[in-house]
Assembly symmetry: C2
Homo-oligomer: 340 residues x 2
């Protein structure tokens, strides 16, 4: 049995705990969350499973790690390397491997090279492995592209898009994507940083460029408002015609000024109301040309939870150090307790 | 520089040599082919490149291995484990890793468990790695499916198809697929083994079942004639209406009598004449459901050559033993000498 601690028991963390409980050879031995409203409850209650499982969500991280001696900790607390640096250090010091879904950790040298260097050093010193993963960055716009290039003799350009529907998400996502704003407010939000768009383009481009030797020397990003011409309404927001229903975020990896990698990720609510079909799309120019479509798109939440849990045995088996998905073996779905 | 010997200088072997010559960090140091018409010539002549490269194709395999001391040998001589067993043994004894595109070697324990055991033993004893790969088996209907399952929380069934066009191929392929036969002749050919269909279904299913713990206990295959209703003609064959234009080959991996994996590979000439579109298609049932399409299909020859060469550094870095693609890291396209 592989001993697992979940650190961060929000929506993603709960998904990971629920999945861990369904998998053969995985044993959830602890759960950490610093939020008052969450700590102190049994995991089963938090998962609304109708039964306690005998694992309490606790806020004293260090004590939990010490008492439960996990093999692997799943960390789902933040998108940013600066925020997960201390938890990851603590995990490594307690002799556990770590898998985090912090978007920046998909390629942490991009935004936080010094923290990445220190994490790598610590992981090597302790013989531990740290991996950043997720659906995107971590899979759709990087690993899956790499996998496809495996059957290519040469690559001249990569264009890929992930078109998704944000309808299931709550207020935080609406705010960071600028949904519900007037177009002018959206543009101000982009300028002042309150409209984030997608976090992960620079990381995906770095992973591709490094692995494929594409010699990308600059990354430019653009965030444009998706202005709706029809009323769009979800459980948490109403958007009138003329207002912003999403953020059309594009990043280009340039080499000597020419785009070599173009990644597009328009995120909006209810794209189907304007006949937009969701999906993941990869187009590789080279020999051969390849055109891949996954329609509808791989669901973000389900996919992120899955890949984080599915990478557990590979992370345990991996050489020590700070790893990216491009360093790892082929992912696969771990067997569930109940056979199909 | 990684020292490469090509063993088998037919169409695929020539593709691999040509690609090796284009890649950074790879050096073609030898070439082996036992055929009188091929041995004795310079590789450059064989590739019709208009210049000699100073590497002669030779038939004395053992001597070539001894003199050139390759790091990796690319073996492209046969589809069957029984035929590549001796070459692979010789390669391992000479201290080189091996990559073979023999279809059965994608999962050699399926058809030749005893030879697979001996190859694994020898590879372990010599500290060498042996990998079977190719576009299919090796990628489309197995590794690529595994990769996709990485973002799945559970899998209940897998259905996949590779629909391709055999028009570029020659007499041998036409004969083994039964193209040009009358339907009755095709059925007799299936019965007497002269119509092969696709080699690799059992291997792809074994790789998936083992990795995903699907507990497949039986594999059933069906080869049906694709009877054309229009005249179809390629450079090497004419097929009249009512005759066989291809082999529609399907394999099912069963668990307790129920299909869990269904793989279909209709191979024919000029499918577009009857409005059939070529492509690679993967449908995964489970959580989530996934529907992937690559249209047109990944070209078989180009893709097989690419994946064999692209796996070279991963095979060099791998632990010793007999490996399948499911044991390997994420493939990717190696950089060419000339930047894009």
């Amino acid at each position: 049995m592989i001993r697992i601690v979940q650190w961060g028991c929000g929506a993603m963390g709960c998904g990971m705990m629920a999945l861990t409980l369904k998998k053969r050879n995985l044993q959830l031995v602890g759960a950490i969350d610093s939020r008052m409203a969450i700590a102190g409850r049994d995991v089963g209650e938090r998962l609304e499973s109708g039964r306690k499982i005998g694992v309490e969500i606790r806020s004293d991280a260090e004590q939990v790690l010490k008492e439960t001696r996990p093999d692997v900790v799943l960390l789902a607390t933040s998108s940013f390397t600066r925020d997960v640096f201390e938890p990851l250090s603590l995990i490594a010091e307690h002799g556990a491997d770590a898998i985090t879904i912090a978007e920046e950790m998909a390629a942490p040298r991009v935004k936080a090279p010094e923290l990445a260097r220190r994490l790598d050093e610590l992981a090597l010193a302790r013989g531990m492995t740290i991996l950043g993963t997720g659906i995107n960055p971590g899979f759709v716009l990087d690993s899956l592209i790499l996998m496809l290039t495996g059957v290519c003799q040469e690559i001249t350009a990569i264009e890929a898009a992930r078109v998704n529907d944000l309808s299931p998400y709550g207020q935080t996502v609406m705010r960071t994507q600028g949904i519900g704003l007037a177009p002018e407010e959206f543009r101000r939000g982009v300028a002042d940083g309150s409209v984030d768009g997608h976090i992960g383009f620079a990381e995906s481009i770095a992973m591709l460029s490094e692995r494929l030797n594409l010699e990308i020397d600059d990354v430019v990003e653009e965030k444009a408002p998706i202005i709706t011409s029809v009323a769009r309404e979800t459980a948490c927001i109403k958007v009138a015609p003329g207002m912003v229903a999403g953020c059309n975020h594009t990043a280009k990896g340039l080499r000597k000024g020419q785009p070599v990698i173009t990644l597009n990720h328009p995120q909006q609510i209810l794209p189907q109301l304007e006949n937009q079909h969701t999906g993941d799309f990869i187009n590789i120019s080279g020999r051969p040309e390849l055109h891949l479509r996954i329609e509808p798109e791989i669901p973000g939440g389900i996919g992120t939870v899955a890949i984080a849990v599915n990478m557990i045995p590979a992370v345990l088996a991996a050489a020590p150090g700070l790893k990216m998905m491009s360093d790892m073996p082929l992912p696969y779905c771990l067997p569930n307790l109940k056979a199909i």
